[in-house]
């Protein structure tokens, strides 16, 4: 690694996360001025974006090769008061909390107190959303049955496609003009306004790049170092070319993407920032052309990629507020680079750049961007092995995805074969058609809270409130199926609530919070003359994420065995034990924990409950229409919500004590998988992953599993077998408990310790204590 990159990397890691009022002040200034108040909302939004791009600070770090920041400096993180407004209390909490803190200085606090809060209070998207949702929804939401992604962040979760690397803003303006001249759009004032807004946004982005070119030019006049001077002159040229025009060189392609990335995450705070997607595909033509004509060397390409990596790491997730801070307590903003997989025509996509980028991932060892490899049957083992050698170093990247299953998921949702081949996974594990799909994540769904409410005839035992519907007193259930029927009814009730709420919120975003800049980048928003948030994309999916499959499986299997099959305990007694949190009842808890069938051991008496719940969840959600004209789908991932969801549930029949975390993704309950990884994979493969838009499976491995060629080959086979059985994703946590314990005791010595949490990596020190404990507890599969 060159000294320059080392320094930039060090700066990025050491930079303190700060909350910046810059964006909030600019957006307030714009709306306060009232100058766009008579324009259609989309045009207002585009003009506000223009105001941001023309006035936000220009930041060029020493030695930087790729430029552009969301805030005024690395890790200075803006806020989005038009979406959700931090209170002074929120700011103080962010400043003072020990984990994932954001420094808030006195000036920022004052700006909030005097300018931002007075203007936006009561008038944010969040205020409007909560005012529009009914009491039943709110009761379920406060009980922790589900969360709501769009209460603090805009819908997003989308990924760049190939078009983005082939077209400049001026090309897109050409497309806009063409779309505006179509007979069906010409006469529609709304559509004309949408296209007009997109055009303003495109030009605003060009102006932003030119501001960088001007600044670089003035820096160049003062530069005495010849080498740097040449670089600056080159960068001036690049920023005058992209993103106005399509990139022509490797460096231009990276800078082009980065400007657009900054645009997307400045316009709004979409959940999951933005993502270049299939980077080894998009960059390959630029790479090969540069190498062939001698304008690029492998060394230079490597340095540029490293500089690109650092840019991502400079951008933590926008700070949250209230309970959401508990649900997802992390800095990471979920950009997930995809490598490998299949080309548009279905052939093997692994190329020399795939391997070069893996080198960069290994050398940079950064939290963001996260990275994954897509593994198709058509990809060579050498690629899987190279990726495993990085996984072995123990920072959780890259994770492994099944391209062939991703393609099948997309096809089963009705996408074209080429769009499916161009797809991948983003965020944690979420399948999407890159460049053509708006796939919004709408919220986590607490499969186990639904069981607790079913066991209490609709009441939430934590509050005593009737939160669900009355499905009968479980004491009167004659057989297990009576209980399951009650569970399914409650599930349907809560899914209906969630979907109604989602549709209300989707309509509000479509109407009030269009994203004209993002709409430029995702097909076919321009051709349809319709905003990304209003269903303009070619495909529109809204996901509900099921959480706690392992826990619900073990809960149901324990009830079936002890209450209905063996009749060791009556339902009434079991409920009493749960209410008492198993106080003075170790004998019962011992049976529940150690003598019950558990998910993750390839034990049919447990696993059939997983399959049943999974299918009930799928039936309740899949295919239902969304307000944007798309469909609801399911996936199975928790981020960190399994901790929050556990905190609102009392003791459960699997022996889990009140408020402890639930299982994450489709992984077994922590420590419940006692038969090794083969059994875990066999269990996990029993659900039909093609019915989902992603599942998350975490396997913790001792680093020794990765020692030597033979071990690597066996891990390749392990992954390949899971994928042959239809698994979607697997990730390896390669650390030992001793290291983690030491890290808890001496956090200062382990500042760089990154662990895979659940579909993403985070600094171990930034995790809450219960999450740290959970990671330590996760079964470390020892040598057989």
């Amino acid at each position: 690694m060159k000294l320059r990159i080392e320094q930039l990397r060090e700066q990025s890691i050491k930079a303190i996360n700060r909350l910046s009022a810059e964006r909030a002040l600019l957006i307030t200034e714009f709306y306060q001025s009232g100058k766009a108040q008579n324009e259609p909302i989309a045009v207002q939004r585009a003009l506000s974006f223009e105001h941001l791009m023309l006035n936000k600070a220009i930041y060029i770090g020493e030695g930087e090769l790729i430029v552009g920041e969301r805030g005024p400096a690395p890790k200075a993180t803006p806020t989005y008061p038009e979406i959700s407004l931090h209170s002074l209390n929120d700011l103080d909490m962010l400043n003072n909390r020990p984990k994932v803190s954001f420094r808030v200085d006195a000036e920022t606090r004052m700006a909030y107190r005097d300018v931002i809060i007075p203007f936006w209070q009561g008038n944010t998207q969040r205020d409007r959303i909560f005012a529009a949702l009914n009491d039943k929804w709110k009761s379920a939401y406060s009980a922790g049955v589900f969360t709501e992604f769009q209460e603090q962040r805009a819908p997003g979760h989308t990924v760049a496609g190939n078009k983005l690397f082939r077209k400049g803003m001026l090309d897109l303006i050409g497309e806009i003009n063409q779309s505006a001249s179509l007979p069906e759009n010409q006469t529609d004032t709304n559509k004309i306004a949408q296209l007009h807004a997109m055009k303003i946004a495109a030009m605003a982005m060009v102006s932003y790049a030119i501001r960088y070119a001007d600044k670089l030019e003035s820096m160049a006049t003062l530069e005495s170092d010849t080498e740097r001077l040449n670089e600056l002159i080159d960068m001036v040229r690049i920023c005058r070319r992209v993103p106005a025009h399509a990139p022509q060189t490797f460096h231009e392609a990276l800078q082009h993407y980065w400007f657009l990335h900054v645009g997307v995450i400045t316009e709004l705070n979409p959940w999951d920032s933005f993502n270049p997607g299939r980077l080894d595909q998009h960059l390959l033509p630029f790479y090969r052309k540069g190498i062939a004509d001698g304008s690029l060397t492998e060394v230079k390409a490597r340095e540029l990629l490293q500089a690109f990596w650092i840019k991502f790491n400079n951008h933590p997730s926008p700070p949250k507020m209230g309970v959401t801070a508990l649900e997802s307590n992390t800095y990471t903003d979920f950009a997930l680079i995809n490598l490998g997989g299949l080309r548009f025509d279905g052939s093997n996509a692994v190329n020399e750049l795939s391997f070069l980028i893996l080198d960069v991932i290994e050398e940079m060892r950064l939290l963001q961007p996260s990275s994954m490899v897509q593994i198709s049957n058509k990809n060579p083992d050498s690629f899987v092995k190279r990726a495993l050698l990085i996984t072995k170093t123990g920072f959780g990247q890259p994770s492994f995805f099944n391209s062939d299953v991703i393609v099948q998921q997309l096809l089963s949702q009705g996408k074209s074969i080429e769009d499916a081949h161009n797809g991948g996974a983003s965020g944690c594990v979420e399948t999407g058609a890159f460049g053509t799909e708006a796939y919004t994540l709408s919220g986590y769904f607490n499969l186990n809270k639904v069981l607790e409410i079913s066991l209490n005839n609709g009441l939430d035992p934590r509050t005593g409130l009737l939160t669900g519907i009355e499905t009968g007193d479980p004491a009167n259930f004659g057989c297990f199926d009576d209980l399951y029927t009650a569970y399914e009814k409650q599930l349907q009730y809560f899914i209906d609530l969630k979907i109604d709420g989602n549709n209300t919120i989707e309509k509000m975003f479509a109407r009030q919070m269009p994203a004209p800049f993002l709409s430029l980048l995702i097909d076919d928003c321009i051709a349809n003359a319709t905003d990304y948030n209003a269903g303009g994309a070619r495909y529109n999916s809204s996901y509900i994420q099921g959480v706690g499959l392992g826990s619900i499986t073990d809960n149901l299997s324990a009830i079936k065995k002890w209450v209905f099959d063996e009749r060791r305990i009556s339902m009434t007694k079991l409920m009493e034990a749960l209410r008492n949190n198993f106080r003075d009842n170790d004998a019962l808890r011992y049976d529940l924990i150690y003598k019950s069938p558990k998910w993750g051991n390839n034990d049919e008496s447990a696993d059939r409950h997983a399959v049943r719940v999974f299918n009930s969840f799928y039936q309740a959600v899949n295919g239902r229409p969304t307000a944007r004209g798309g469909h609801f789908r399911i996936n199975m991932l928790p981020t960190t919500s399994h901790v929050y969801f556990g905190s609102v549930i009392g003791a459960m029949p699997d022996g889990r004590l009140a408020t402890e975390p639930l299982s994450e993704g489709i992984s077994p309950v922590q420590g419940a998988d006692t038969h090794g990884p083969v059994a875990v994979l066999l269990s996990a493969a029993k659900i039909d992953h093609i019915k989902t838009g992603g599942t998350l499976l975490n396997q913790k491995f001792d680093p020794s599993f990765f020692e030597g060629e033979e071990s690597l080959e066996k891990l390749v086979s392990l992954i390949r077998t899971y994928f042959r059985l239809g698994g979607h994703h697997i990730q390896f946590n390669v650390v030992n408990a001793e290291t983690l314990r030491n890290a808890q005791k001496h956090p200062e010595k382990y500042r760089d310790l990154i662990v895979r949490v659940a579909g993403y990596s985070d600094y171990f020190n930034d995790l809450g204590e219960s999450l740290q404990e959970e990671i330590i507890r996760r079964t470390a599969h020892g040598m057989a």
Partner: protein
């Protein structure tokens, strides 16, 4: 027919090629001082107390080591792992204990596995009746064969048995054209002496069909098992075998097989 099985473990990565599932049979005629599976020695079901933790409290419950299983039960269990065998070129390994201590069950099980086209390996001390070896031979793809001590008296002293049948069986397998993986445990001052390693080297050099030699350095992980079983452990203060030393000993054998490694 039933056999006494004490464990079946998937993802055994050190018991032969590919991803394997190892069936551990209970009962062994040897009493090696360094045995790392003391629960495998007695040919009877054993009862032990096992501790289960529930937060700060702890419950002790009796547990059986060893379970009578039919051939079909074992086959059904290992069949579940078939996709992993097929993908990796793995299969099933019978280990112990000494699988040839239950010759009829072992033969029937291997035969049934071959019927199902599952690759088989037999992990043996070689201390067995010639007839038993003859019976399993047609159904065994690979023999994982332990060579511990070449000297007859020292073998008797540290394992409780002489090695004459072992060496005879080894030569017989070699003559019959068996695929042999030789496994040499390294125990400080017992098996790692220059004389012993030289003699073992000499034995191997006379064999045909040796495809692989694994040097297995001693580790103290089994000590806790002895405590739980209430059995005396004679190597109480022995440290894990020095890795560099093991690598050095490996050099003795590198010319004797296509693949020689430390750690199995």
């Amino acid at each position: 027919m039933k056999g006494l099985v004490f464990d079946i473990r998937s993802f055994s990565v050190h018991d032969g090629p590919g991803i394997r599932t190892t069936v551990f049979l209970k009962g062994c005629p040897l009493e090696c001082l360094w045995c790392h599976n003391p629960e495998s020695r007695s040919p009877e079901v054993e009862k032990v107390m096992r501790e289960y933790k529930l937060g700060s409290s702890c419950i002790r419950m009796p547990e059986n080591i060893g379970k009578e299983m039919s051939v079909n039960q074992v086959v059904e269990r290992v069949e579940a792992d078939r996709p992993f065998f097929e993908e990796s070129g793995g299969g099933v390994t019978l280990s112990g204990g000494e699988p040839l201590f239950q010759p009829n069950f072992t033969t029937a099980l291997l035969k049934e596995l071959k019927n199902k086209s599952i690759h088989t390996a037999l992990d043996t001390s070689g201390f067995a009746q010639a007839e038993a070896l003859d019976a399993v031979f047609p159904f065994t793809d690979i023999f994982l064969f332990d060579l511990k001590l070449a000297d007859e008296r020292r073998h008797l002293k540290f394992t409780g048995r002489t090695n004459l049948p072992i060496l005879n069986n080894l030569r017989w397998l070699s003559e019959k054209g068996a695929s042999l993986f030789i496994r040499i445990p390294l125990v400080e001052g017992i098996t790692d002496t220059a004389e012993n390693l030289d003699a073992i080297r000499h034995i191997i050099s006379k064999l045909k069909g040796v495809q692989r030699i694994d040097i297995l350095p001693y580790h103290y992980t089994a000590q806790q098992k002895y405590e739980r079983l209430g059995q005396p452990y004679h190597l109480e203060n022995m440290k894990a075998y020095n890795r560099q030393k093991a690598e050095k000993h490996k050099e003795l054998f590198v010319n004797l097989a296509p693949h020689v490694s430390v750690g199995g």
